[in-house]
């Protein structure tokens, strides 16, 4: 799914457009607020990160830095949250697009799930 279409589904506002669009579009969602959880999920998944987007309530710069580490190129902040200027500045330097949606985590996941986007491979605590 293209970024513009995602934005429309989530009634999202684009705060920073890196111009990046993954080949084949976005097809996978990582929804979390804990950055170590994000790292664990992305370590478990065998897939390339290019089609993964992040839904999160956290707006500090570490969200962007963590996304950079695992090659997530689209971060969508929830509940209409807007990040601080330093978060946007870091995203710009990392080539990461930023959007904000008025929807909650639950609603956003529901909307994207209904459109057949998949969950990033669930972190397996037994591994």
């Amino acid at each position: 799914m293209k970024r513009e279409e995602l934005g429309g589904l989530l009634s999202a506002t684009v705060l920073l457009d890196s111009g990046y669009e993954p080949e084949g579009g976005y097809d996978t969602v990582c929804a979390c607020d804990m950055m170590s959880e994000l790292l664990a999920s992305m370590n478990q998944t065998g897939q390339n990160s290019r089609g993964v987007l992040l839904l999160t309530n956290m707006t500090n710069p570490q969200v962007v830095r963590t996304s950079e580490m695992v090659d997530i190129r689209l971060v969508i902040f929830l509940r209409g949250k807007k990040p601080a200027p330093e978060t946007i500045a870091l995203a710009r330097s990392c080539g990461i697009s930023i959007m904000t949606t008025p929807h909650t985590m639950f609603s956003s996941c529901g909307i994207l799930h209904a459109e057949k986007l998949q969950d990033v491979q669930t972190y397996n605590r037994d591994v």
């Binding site: 607020d33 804990m34 170590s36 370590n43 390339n48 570490q62 830095r65 963590t66 950079e68 580490m69």
Partner: protein, 138 residues
């Protein structure tokens, strides 16, 4: 090839810069995507640990044709019980660390999971050294 990066304890605004530089070096060297991701996750978690808990530290990176070796060493409080620290969910994180989205007690297990080999040496009141290795062959 050898690189060294300094990390300042408590400098949350700069946290992750060393791991980002390491990642860019690996990309320029043409290292495989999967290896870069594993190194990035492990070195970033190690850097966050120094930032969150230590006074100062450094990441030493050595790359040879077979493997990538990283040592994260710090001057800080040390880890009283390493076995406990390796248990997922155990954390001594402060509220400031949790506000950054860390402190879930997954840092050290994440490093272990992302790497092929890892060892921790720590002396309470002096500091901690975490060494890990990732093979370049798949």
């Amino acid at each position: 090839m050898h690189w060294e990066f300094s990390v300042t304890g408590g400098n949350f605004s700069g946290a992750g810069e060393a791991a980002s530089k390491i990642k860019n070096i690996l990309k320029k060297l043409g290292i495989a995507y999967e290896v870069i991701r594993r190194v990035s996750i492990a070195s970033y978690e190690a850097e966050m640990n120094i930032t969150a808990y230590a006074d100062e530290g450094k990441l030493l990176v050595d790359i040879d044709p077979l493997e990538i070796n990283i040592t994260a060493s710090d001057r800080g409080p040390g880890i009283p019980d390493i076995d406990k620290a390796m248990q997922e969910g155990f954390s001594t994180a402060t509220p400031a660390i949790r506000e950054m989205g860390f402190g879930a007690g997954m840092g050290l297990p994440n490093i272990q999971r992302a790497t092929d080999w890892m060892v921790i040496n720590s002396t309470v009141g002096k500091g901690t050294e975490i060494k890990f290795k990732i093979y370049l062959k798949t």
